[in-house]
Structure formats: structure tokens, C-alpha cells
Symmetry: D2
Subunit: 329 residues, 4 copies
Amino acid sequence: MLGETYPIRTDLALESQERLKNRGEVRGVDFQEEERENGVVVSTVVIQTENAAHAMGRPKGRYVTIEAPQMAEEDEGYHRDISLELARIIRQMLPEELLGGTEPQKEDRGLEISVLVVGLGNRAVTPDALGPRVVDNLFITRHIMNEFGRYAFSDEDVSKISGIVPGVMAQTGMECVEILRGVVKETSPDLVITVDALAARNVRRLGRTIQLTDTGITPGSGIGNHRNAINRESIGVPVISLGVPTVVDAATIVADAMNSLIHAMSLSNLQGLDERERQELARELLSPQLNGLFVTPKNIDDSIKQLSFLISEGLNVALLGNKEEAESI
Amino acid sequence: MLGETYPIRTDLALESQERLKNRGEVRGVDFQEEERENGVVVSTVVIQTENAAHAMGRPKGRYVTIEAPQMAEEDEGYHRDISLELARIIRQMLPEELLGGTEPQKEDRGLEISVLVVGLGNRAVTPDALGPRVVDNLFITRHIMNEFGRYAFSDEDVSKISGIVPGVMAQTGMECVEILRGVVKETSPDLVITVDALAARNVRRLGRTIQLTDTGITPGSGIGNHRNAINRESIGVPVISLGVPTVVDAATIVADAMNSLIHAMSLSNLQGLDERERQELARELLSPQLNGLFVTPKNIDDSIKQLSFLISEGLNVALLGNKEEAESI
Amino acid sequence: MLGETYPIRTDLALESQERLKNRGEVRGVDFQEEERENGVVVSTVVIQTENAAHAMGRPKGRYVTIEAPQMAEEDEGYHRDISLELARIIRQMLPEELLGGTEPQKEDRGLEISVLVVGLGNRAVTPDALGPRVVDNLFITRHIMNEFGRYAFSDEDVSKISGIVPGVMAQTGMECVEILRGVVKETSPDLVITVDALAARNVRRLGRTIQLTDTGITPGSGIGNHRNAINRESIGVPVISLGVPTVVDAATIVADAMNSLIHAMSLSNLQGLDERERQELARELLSPQLNGLFVTPKNIDDSIKQLSFLISEGLNVALLGNKEEAESI
Amino acid sequence: MLGETYPIRTDLALESQERLKNRGEVRGVDFQEEERENGVVVSTVVIQTENAAHAMGRPKGRYVTIEAPQMAEEDEGYHRDISLELARIIRQMLPEELLGGTEPQKEDRGLEISVLVVGLGNRAVTPDALGPRVVDNLFITRHIMNEFGRYAFSDEDVSKISGIVPGVMAQTGMECVEILRGVVKETSPDLVITVDALAARNVRRLGRTIQLTDTGITPGSGIGNHRNAINRESIGVPVISLGVPTVVDAATIVADAMNSLIHAMSLSNLQGLDERERQELARELLSPQLNGLFVTPKNIDDSIKQLSFLISEGLNVALLGNKEEAESI
């Protein structure tokens, strides 16, 4: 397949797993999928071996994906469900060391850890603005707790949350990991959560999928190469990376279409097609969903707006708890 | 060719002309091209007949294109050259009725007409924000001249300039042409100049080409369908439309690649290629410039910033004159 | 009092009423006040005579004010209450002609009228961006209903909502009323609702008060003079004007302080104060709430964000109905 | 004077010097002033002793102020002059250790040092957005030089420039100095240049004055308290701080007016004034320039835009050199 030699780019482990599965090579990769009542699908890919990591093109570790077809639309109840799902998954991904050997805490209680949330990406390019916009909407508590203590909040179980938007290398001249390493050393958070816009292979996933992983971010992925590996090794504290695909690489779209075409043409009965029939075939291969799509969708501004609220709500619940809502999970 | 049946989208008359020329059908279309010393190419397509208009897929009229490879980069002198070129072309496009039967005025004098500049597009989507950003940078004079007269300005030859950013239909619920028709009736400008982001067929033209036309904007073109025909018929005053391609339609890119592939495969010597050779061919057909390009380029924010300054400078010179600079043209 | 001769500026009828009341002159002005359970106060000033209009410095008509101390803070339930209050007041202000002689409809049904919502102010100046931000968050339906009819929505009782952000005169060279008159003639809404940032006299009201009136907007009010009377006379359809104070005029603050000082100094027992005692007095007159306040508050960005959501939710409920929530009013 | 006891706030050393001078106490403070041909005034305040630092309310060191009445207007030539003045002053402020014992280099050569430019302030509050906007417009070179070396640039004498917009504490939960200390340790610049919006005492200085100092930024100054001392002691490298006043503290304006009033009233001949005469006096004391001013001016968006270009041009020339222009200084 073309995909083997031509670099098909996706930041979603789920899509890498799908590609491998089609080729029957999934040794060392564990996959599970659950469907919720509201149609939301939560799937987990665990890459268990170095061989599997090589085949998958990403580090060993756990990748959880929430697929929610209506995610970018305005529907408060649905968004609330996904925010809570997100909060639940973040809680489960917390390193044991942060939980003091106890069970993950219920969402009806806040955590009592310190977290630095990092909004990766470029605020000035709409599909890349997700990370910065999420940080805009977060409930930041660190400076208040440092000054007044936890008693500034009615609850005693509240995390110390800080946030940063480091900018992209073209704007700063620095790798994000340089900035974060410095900030982490100075402010000593227990955990870093990064939020970023991703590239998917499949246009249907744009704005409808959230990936969470405990492996950090591998360099060169994402919309731009606005980072160099941000993970526990490089910055010294555990990292949870959250991302939403907002773009598809143009080369990926073309390669996929070409691939389909070549595959079809290699079938024996294709040899007899005349020029017109071949064109007809090519048109069929161009899926109609590409029409009017600029690889990042036209309504990317609304999509980013909805998503940034949804994710910041999920982070707020994960870190601060939500007594009213969480009990209903 | 696939392009005949599959709708290849371009907002540039120059690209439609290139396509027709390749097929030898350019009757009724006049084409001229001039290269400037600094490498800038100014070409003029005149669609003279209804038949030609049909073949070109756009109204009869004049389309002038400035192609300037370094347009989106920071180079003050180069930008200044293009601004002045832009000013010159706008002056030439002015309807005779506005010039009172005299020659187009030299750029060292301002005009004394009233002009409404319309920034089409969506400010919140980076590649579609060109029009709004140009209006941000314009020198608006109408309210000052209405209150204090032309003597508010040291020059007596100054145009009455107003500007509006009507927004896109998803935000307003109204067609742009409805808003403009109303505003034009109330404020009676002599001329409307629209500024918009366009779609090109060729990625190399993104951010490097300016098209000007006296035909107005045909509906359905542009990034979104954020308008319905804005022209002299629909709004009652002459319209000059200025646009810069900032996106390529994803379907266009794929169709172009498929087209090349099918064309190559229809050549007899291709039949003997084995699977590997065919894949090799397909990779070659995927031009490397697609890599890392999200159909709108990654640095679209910088590009829009540079372009919006360049164009507003051109409009300012065209409408208000520039004694220092214009003499050197 | 200084206020009589020096122009004390406020856009709130409630504040004009308070000033008159202090002087015992409230003939022709009806005033009523209700306090809700959650501490929100809704007061109504009705200016009944031309004399009263002159004394109050604003047109005859009804001015309803919602005062809600926690309005600019993040509290979903509280915001929801105020949104519903807002919706209720807008419904009551609808001209009878739009209701077809029937009672104002309950909020559990949408209206079936067409409304143009106008976001006045300058998006680029934070405290003046309220109107534009409210329009950003509105649910726009006109284009959908024009294309697909009301059956595009599951409910049959849905208003046709359009929105526009006309910009300010320094950016457009046009009076807002010129733009609106044109747009209203072309698109024929039944009603215009304007949203604007206002100036208050009292800093404690900033971001905590919403004024609604059926008199339109009087020219020269607001943060800038970005309009000329927008009312039924000037644009031809009924106008409901909604505003939130986000600034206090600097001259107002100084005049108030001076006024207090002069008043205090005119008391006989002041004559005996020595220099130090007078300074002590002056410091006391400078209310501590001025400290750290730049007349528009430092957290104006958050305040604008919260308010724009709150108001657009109120407008959405008022115009589209909200079956779940409205029943609980 | 009221000013002695009530905290009159200004971030401009020049204004503190003026206040002291009025009282005859300028021991330990050296002051020099030069007027340029174009009316620009460059003044230098050097605080030489700890006593003087105490009286001035700011650290020992050099404070250079550029006063340019037309600074916030659009005038390319004038801006260019000020940019070059700015570049010249920055060069003179460079610590000797960075110059290797040689004379400050001429502006026709770039420096060969590494500089981190810090845009302080809140991008979302218009008058506080100066720092972030300056960084947006800078020419960032560090990442290019790290990857390709200085040969990426035609000149060999080019500085390594990086930039960061740390955000304000309410958004990040961290002190700016924490973020900067970390980033400086990781990326080891030779010099930090901070850019910030300041508070002035005199409204006539808003947007028309640039202050540069080698003392760093004292905590609690500026629009918000978005920092804690950023200087060589706290971050380990030399700091040049550049600021432009964009606001006046409301309490300052009131205190100034009150002060004038009290002063006037303490004069013996004032005792005979009747009520009406006192009011007349108070009105006169309210300077007309306060009218229509919201303590940050209404056109703050344009002002910030012009200033951010001007300053980034100055920084670009200072750090990268400008062969064409610099020779003409």
C-alpha cells in the first residue's frame, strides 16, 4: 500500500491501530471499545511492546479515545456528558504516585494535587487555537491558594491549577519543551496536562474525537512541529496529553485517494475500462465529503469555540470536582 | 479530463484561462501579460463574449492579476512596489463616469469620489479574515469630510472613504448583498470596492496573487458561499472586486492529482508497470509542496497580516493619492 | 450642586431618577422596584411627560433595570435566573402590534416574529465589545428559515433572527443609524434589539446592571458617540435597547468627588480645619473603591465574556423559547 | 500636599522627578533633557543614591524617556525617527559585559548577542495588550540560528532573538518572574528586554511617551500587578525595561483634582467665595481634557496598534541593525 512507503500522518493512535488491523498486524497492541447510551464510543489502545510501538509509530502506553459525533454542535446536555467522561478518563490516567496508593477519587471530590495545564498551538491560526482557548476558559487557582490557602475555596479538596500558553516556535524562537522544562522546574507541579490540536487521517473525525494519552507528545506530530517531545523524561513530571483532531494533512487526503485508485486499477477487470469509465471511477473514489472542505472545515471557528468550552469544563471537573453532577455518573 | 466533469474550483480567471488554453479553446478571451523589473507579473484576461463567459465559468469583463512570488514576506520596498501597482490598476478600472470624461488621474493626486470598501469574509477564520483586516487598516474619511469638509485634510483632492465588514451569513442570517444594497442606498457611494479571500487551484498561488475585476463577485465563489452576486446590477453602483487566494479546495487538490494519475496510466507504456512501479509513480505525482500544507498554509496568520497591510496601503494610495511616492512610478 | 451645571454623564435612567429624587423632583416619573428571592432587584422607571423627559435628560418611555451584584461572576444557576428574567422583560416590552392583540406569550413558546439584533460598539476596545460579543453568541435562524422554512426546526414557533455588528464611525465613516436604516429597509425585520456597553455614574454598577428600554438609544450616550438616535422614528420599526454599564466617565468620577468636597467645605464647622485635617477629609472622600480601578475595571475581559453569554442566552430564550426552563419561572 | 500621603501612582521616573523638583528635593537625582529637531524630547533621570531612590519610590539606575507628542498617530517618517531613537538608547543601555569592552556598536551593524524579549500584560484588555502585540511583530531568529547558524542570514552580525508572552497571573496562576526565571535558566539569553503598558500621572503622556530603564521592573507597578520584580537579581541576567503609559489610575486623577482644590481653598482670599463662586472654581479645576476620556482613551485600540509597530521596529533595528537607515542618525 502507498501508506507503507508514503508517510501517512495521523496523531490518533486509534487510526494507526485501524490501519494495522486491516493488515492483520496487531501483536502487542491491546484494543477495547465501549459504546455509551448516548452513542459516544470510548476506545482504549494500549501499546505494550517496543515492536508494537515501532509498528504503530508512537511510544508505548495507553491511548484513550472518545468519539462523539455531535461533539462540535451546541447541545448542553451532550456536552456535559462528554465533559464528565473526559473527567473520568483523566482521573483514571493519573499516576498512582499522585493518589497516595488509594483508589482514584470519585468525581464528587476535587483532587489535591498541583497541575500545570499547557495550551499548545498558535492562537492566531483558527484550527490550531484549541489549546490556548482551553487555557482561557480554565479555572486557575494556584495564585489564590498560594496567597490565601485552600480556605479561599469553600471546599478543602481543591487542586492547585496553573496554566500557560507557550506559543509556537516561529513566534518564540524556543522549543515548547524548553519553556515548559523551565517553568516546571520553577513552579514544581505534580502533573502537566497538555492540550493541542491534532491531525487526523479521516475527515469524519475532525472536531468529533478526543484523544488522551499518558505517553506525552511525540515530536513532529500535531498541526505544526510546535514542540519537541514533551513527556516525563523531558520535563521531569508525569504528562497527560489531550488532543482533538482539527485538520487533515493535504498530502494524506491525496495519498488516500491515490491509494484507492491504484488499488482499484490493479484489479484485473479494470484493465478493460475505457477512458470515460476510468474517469467515472475516479470521481466515485473522490468521496463527496471532501466537497467544500478546506481540509480544516469551514466552521472551524464555531467548532473550536464549542470544543474549548467542553474540554475546559472536563478539566475543571477532573481537577476541582463537581459535587452536583459527578454523582450521576 | 476529469476537470471537465468534476467541478474544479478556482476564483482566479487566470487559472480558468490557463485551463482553456491547454485545450486550445480561447476564442473570445483576450490575454496579455507584462513582467516588471522586480519579477512581478501583471496579466489581463478580458472575457469578451457570452460564449467565452460560459466556457470560463465567470461573467464578461476584465480580470487583472498581479503575481508576486514574495508578496507574503516582509520586505517593505517590494510591498511598496506592489501597493503602487495595485493603486495604478484600481485607477485604471474606475468607470469613466467617475472620471468626468478626463484621463485617469495620476497617483500623485487623490480622487474626489466617494467609495465604500467592503471587507468580505469571516474575521474568526484565519484564511477568510483578509477582507475584514484590510478594512481595519484603511484610512476612513467619510465622517470627517461630512462634518468638516475637505478642508479637514491639507489636500483638496481627497476621496470620501467609508468601510464595512458585513460578516458572513452564518453569523448574520442575511446575504451580504442584502446588507450592502441597504447601506449603498442610504449612503450613496459612487463606487464599491470589495476585498475577499479567494480559492485558487494552484497551491503556489496562495498568498502571492491579487486579482482585480470590474465584474463584481459571482455567487458561490470564495471560501464560503458568503455572498450572492455583488455587482452593479444588484447594488446599483459600479463594483471593483479585489481578492487574494488563501485556500485551495481539498477536492481540487485530490482531483488534480487523480487526473494526473489517470492521464499517466492511459499512456500505453504504463500498462507494463508492476505494482511497485505504479506506487513509485503515484508518489512522484504527489508533489512535495503538499507536505505540511493544510490546504491553507500553516503560516496563514503571518500571510494574512502582511497582505492586509499591503492591500490597504494600495487602496489608500489609489483613493487618497500619495504625492511623494506616486511620482516615481 | 456641581452636577447641575457640570454635565454628569450616565446612560442609566435609574441613576437619573436617583439624582432627581434626591432633589425632590420626580413629577411625571413613575418608579417601581421589586426584589427577587436571589437578591436581584428589578426596577422600572416610566417617564410620562415631556417635562419629566427634559428633567431626566432622556426620552419618554419605559426603562427597566436589572441589578444583580454577582452578574459578572461565574455562577451558572444565577446566570440562568438572570437570563430568564431578561427574557421575561423583553417579552413584556414587545409592542402589542407584534403580539396580534394577544397576551405576551409564555416563555415556553418561541415567538414567531423576525428580529434584527444589533451589536453596537467597538470589538477592539475591551469594555466596548459587549454588543459584538453578544451577536457572536446568538442563535441566528433567518437564513435557515428563508431556505428551509420553519420545519428546519423541530418547533413551529421559532423567530427569524438576524444579527449585525455595524462597527463604530471611526472604522466605517458612517453613522450606525445609516447602516441600520439601510439594512432594515432591505430585510424588513418586525423588531430591532440593540445591545450596547453603557456609561454609569456609579462604579458599583459596572458589569452588574442591565437596562432595557423601548425608547431607542439617544445619541451621544454610550462609551463613544458611536451612533445617532436609533429608534422607531429613525429606522421605521420598533426598537428595544439593551445595555450594560462597563465604564464610568473620568470627568464624572472627579466631579462627584469634587462635589462631595465642596459640599463638605461649605458646612460651617469645616472652616476651622487646619491643613492636615482638610487633607484627611479629602482622603476620606476618595472612596477606596477607586483604588486599582481604571474607570473600566481591570477584569473587564472576563466581565465582558460572562455578560455576553448571559445576554445572548436571555435573547435566545426570549426569541426562541425554552420549554424546559421557562415553565419554572 | 495630598500626594505625599495619598499614594499617587506613576510608573514614569520622569513624573516622580517633576514632583520632587516642585518641592525642591532633587539631591541624588541627575536630570538631563535634549530636544530633537522634530520636537521629540529625550530626557534622562539617573537615581544615584539610596536616599534618592527612596524619595523617588523606585530603584537606583538610569531612566530614559522619549516624549513624542505625535507618537500614536500614523506618520511613517516620524515613527521611523522614534524607532531609531529607541534603537540608539537600547544600544547605550547594553551592559558593558555584552559589548566585550568595546564601544557600543553603531546601528549599522547588528549585535551578536542573544536576547529574550518579554511581552508583559494581558492581550485581552486593550490598553494592557502593548507587550504581547510588540512580541507579535518582532523578528524572531533564535530557532533559525540554532538550526542553520548565522549563515541563514546574509549578515554575520545578527542577534539571537527569542520572545515570550507569559500572560498575567489571573490567567496563569504564576508570577511572571517564576515563568521568566525558568525560561531564562533553560535558554540562557545574554539579556532580557521587557515591554509593558504603564500607568502615568498625566493624561497628556498617554501613548506619547516611552520609558527605558536598566533597573528592571518594580513589583506592583504597571496596569495590574502582573509581576513581581523582574531584574538582574531575580532572573540572573541584565534586564532592560521598556514601557509606554496607556492608562491613568482613576484615584490619581481624582486625587490630583482634589489636591488642586484644597490648595486653592487654603489660600486666604478663597475664604470669601460664596457657594456659586466655589462651584465655578471647581469646574475650572476640572481640566477639559478629562471630558470623553475613560482614563484609558477611547482610541486605545489604534494607539496600541501604532505603538506596537513602532516599538518592534525599534527593537528590530537595535538588535539586528539597519544598514540603510542607521547611517543617517
